[in-house]
Every structure is written in structure tokens, then in C-alpha cells.
Subunit: 237 residues, 2 copies
DNA sequence: TTCTGCCTCCCCCAAAATGGCGAGGTCACA
DNA sequence: TGTGACCTCGCCATTTTGGGGGAGGCAGAA
């Protein structure tokens, strides 16, 4: 069992493009004997990629109808940390039930487990296994395989992040200690004069730091600089 | 081995307060026969809790000196997804080297593996195993136990989130769609007038959104509001 | 040694953001 | 039939920021 997990992970690690990830989902589906395995990077802008075994018709329909914005699986996972069994979600609204009915018609399955994955800079992705079966069989599957699926989900996301970095590589700039301090105070809401007082330097000096940080971060203004410093993990607020 | 992982996880799951988590770290340290096991919730304000086997002296010193802001482990993990071996980090700056020397003097260990964990609303935590040993022994340890440690780290964070929800549930404010849009443009560096143009509304209306968002987020100014929106995962840049 | 990066301080002034006062409309929910 | 949340717009005065100029000292690296 452990060896099998290892080989499944290696399969993902060897992937060199999205097509390989796609193939890996198919292999996983067959190995676990479920209806579907899907990895899906959920971006604010709605782009980035996904790989999975859903039918093209369902994916197209999903995109076309912008289901991303009302899919209870996504909305639920955005607020949770632990893997989510679809049964735990809120299907009460009418829109949810219509969505569920349609999903089942498209062969998605009546049971599902979705693992939320979070990366740096607010990155967010989902890894889902779904199947057609009764509650008991599904509960056994989840109980036996959740841990392994979490590890595999992690591997998928690691690959996805690698692919992204390969594309637009972002060289993370280095801020000097005082620059970091200045950015931190600003991120905490202090004004220039307050931050200067806190750092026990003149406001002019503080300005020099802020401008230096702005330049290094390629930011257009202070707010932008703080946002970049935060999302690149240079500072913690 | 699998059964042991199960029992270690259950130990964490049964925890009903931070003291139990503390005890769990000690048990893990003894089980894996390493110098330290630490779970540490890194929060915006710098509070929240941690549980681990570091000496009280080191923890006090760490807090007193505000090492949080320059600890290469934290800064490195903030930008990574995968578990990080301390050797992979950037120890080049003078401050880093001083920090490392001091950490070793306090018995932290010369080897370490830190797993970054991210939860909803920008939550961020670290799970660390550290030891005194040579590179080879450490590499073997990491290779054999990383997967299990990832699962255990997940369990710790799950518990931590449960405790938080029970305690002072951080009321994550809900921003309206337009408010989110406004904050996103600001975080991208657009000025008010540019953002207003982008959203095809008057600059004044945009101001209303920004002020509403500021209030909801309890922020003192726009930069603060953007920083909070980002670190709570409300917006993604 | 020279050079580069970092830290510190000062001036002036234009541009932008903020804080306060208004106003009116839709839409859903109770 | 309110009530509240959301979206939209205007003006005024004050504060904060940003973009230019400068300056010197002190480290570590080439």
C-alpha cells in the first residue's frame, strides 16, 4: 500500500506538462476505481489550469454558466481546511440543488470528497475524487484513502506551482531590514509620521526606505508595495 | 508503521486544549527521537498560539527580539508550498547567521524540516522537526518521515483552527463585490482615479467602497485595508 | 582602495488621499 | 411596507503622499 502511494506520487512528480497531469488523474481514477479524479487551480481571475477526468461537456457547461461562483463545493472549501465530503456541504439553496442535479446528469457522481489546497500568495486549488455509490461504500473509501489522497493532492499542487514558476519567473527582491520594518508598520496601518516615530527616525528617512522598497518591488505606490511585500511573503502583518 | 501514524494522529485529534497539543509534541519528539517538534501559528498580529518542545528561554528570547520578522525559516516558508529543509534556506545575511548561531546555542538543533500550513482566511502556521545530527542521518530521517509529518502537521492545524473557532472567532468581514473589486485594483497599484476609470464609476463612488471596506476591515487607512484584505484571503493579487 | 549598499538627515511643492457634509436609486427579505 | 445592504453621484477643506533636489557617515565587497 505504502509502495503504491509512492509510485503514484512519483507518477505525478515526473509530469513535465499539464497533459502528464491529466494522464495521472486517469491513472488514479482507474487505480482507486472511482468515477472521477480532478485537480483544479481556482484563481481569482478564473484562469490557470486544471486536470481531470470530467467529460468535456461538463467542463464546458461549467465554464459557460460560470458555475465557479456558486458551486457549493468551491464556496465550502474556500472556508475550510480539512477535506470536505460533499454531503457535509450546504445544498439548501435552490441554485445548489439545480446545480447538483445537473452535475449528476453529466456523470460527475453522487458522492465526492474534495481537498482544499493552499499555496503561497493566496494560491488556492482543489483536488476531488467522486463516484457513484451509496453512503456506506463511500464512507469506507474515504476512511481508507483520505490520507493518501491528501498527499497526492499535495503533489499535484506542487507540480502546478512548478509549472507556473517556470512560466513567469518572479525574482523576489531583497529588502533591507529597515525597509522591511517600514513596510511592516505601513501594513499595520500606521501613517508615515507614525511609523517614523515608531522607528525613531525622521519622516524623511522613512520616506527614503519606502521609496527604495517601492522601486525594488516595482510598485507604483505605497499600497502596491505593501501588497507585493505581503503576497511575496517578505513581511508578516 | 501505518498503525503508528494513525495512533499519533488520534492523539492530536483527542486534544481538548493547547496543553494537550503541547504534550503531543513531546510524545512525537520521543517517538521520532529528534531534538524538537514545534507547531507554531504565525499570525498577523504575532500572537495566537504555538505548542512545542523548545526551551522557555528560547521562546522568550525569540519573542523579545521579535525574531519572527527575520527568521529565515519563516520568511522562506512564507514563499514556499513544500516542506523546507533548513539547509535550503537563505542564510547569507549577517542577521540570519547571528540568528542561527544563537538558535543552536539554545539547543534548537542544526538540522530542521519545517512544513508550511495554510488555512482559510490567510491563516498560516508552521510545523517543525529539528535535531542535532549530520546531513546524511537527517536526509534519511526526512526521506522516511516527511509524508507522515505532513499528515500530522495537518492534524495539528486542524485542531488549532478548532480551538480558534471556539475562542474568539475572528469575524471575517464580508465585502461586497464592488468593494472587493476596488480593493483588488488598489492592491494592484492603481490610484483611486485609475481604479475608478477601470470600474467605470466616478471616483467618489469608488471612495465610498474604499471607506466601507476600511470600516468593515477595521483598518486605519487604505494601505491597512488592502493589507488586511490580502492576509485574510479576501482578495488575491 | 574604490565602490556599492545601507542608514541618516534637510528643503520645497504639487498631487493625491482622506474626512466630513450631502443626495438618490434598486433589490431582497421580513 | 418598511428596513437594510448595495450601488451611484457631488463639493469642500485638510492631511498625507509623491517627486524632485541635496548631504554625510559607515559597513562590507571587489
Amino acid at each position: 500500500m505504502q509502495e503504491k502511494l509512492e509510485s503514484l506520487c512519483e507518477r505525478v512528480q515526473r509530469a513535465s506538462d499539464v497533459g502528464d497531469l491529466q494522464a495521472a488523474t486517469e491513472q488514479l481514477r482507474d487505480y482507486y476505481d472511482v468515477a472521477h479524479i480532478v485537480y483544479h487551480w481556482v484563481n481569482s481571475v478564473g484562469e490557470r489550469f486544471g486536470a481531470g477526468t470530467y467529460s468535456q461537456e461538463w467542463v464546458d457547461r461549467y465554464v459557460e454558466k460560470d458555475y465557479l461562483r456558486m458551486d457549493p463545493v468551491i464556496l465550502g472549501c474556500l472556508q475550510r481546511f480539512n477535506p470536505v465530503d460533499w454531503k457535509e456541504l450546504d445544498w439548501s439553496s435552490r441554485a445548489s440543488r439545480d446545480f447538483l442535479r445537473e452535475a449528476i446528469n453529466f456523470g460527475v457522481g453522487n458522492q465526492g470528497l474534495t481537498i482544499p489546497i493552499r499555496g503561497p500568495a493566496g494560491q488556492f486549488a482543489l483536488f476531488t475524487a467522486s463516484d457513484h455509490c451509496d453512503d456506506y461504500v463511500w464512507a469506507v473509501f474515504v476512511d481508507e484513502n483520505m490520507r493518501d489522497l491528501m498527499i497526492i493532492a499535495h503533489e499535484f499542487n506542487k507540480k502546478a506551482l512548478e509549472f507556473e514558476q517556470g512560466g513567469d519567473s518572479a525574482p523576489v527582491p531583497t529588502l533591507s531590514p529597515r525597509e522591511l520594518e517600514a513596510m511592516t508598520y505601513l501594513a499595520k496601518g500606521l501613517s508615515r509620521s507614525q511609523a517614523a516615530k515608531e522607528m525613531e527616525i525622521s519622516e524623511h528617512t522613512l520616506r527614503v526606505y519606502i521609496e527604495a522598497a517601492r522601486h525594488k518591488l516595482g510598485a507604483m505606490n505605497t499600497t502596491h508595495a505593501v501588497a507585493r511585500a505581503l503576497s511575496r511573503g517578505l513581511i508578516v502583518v
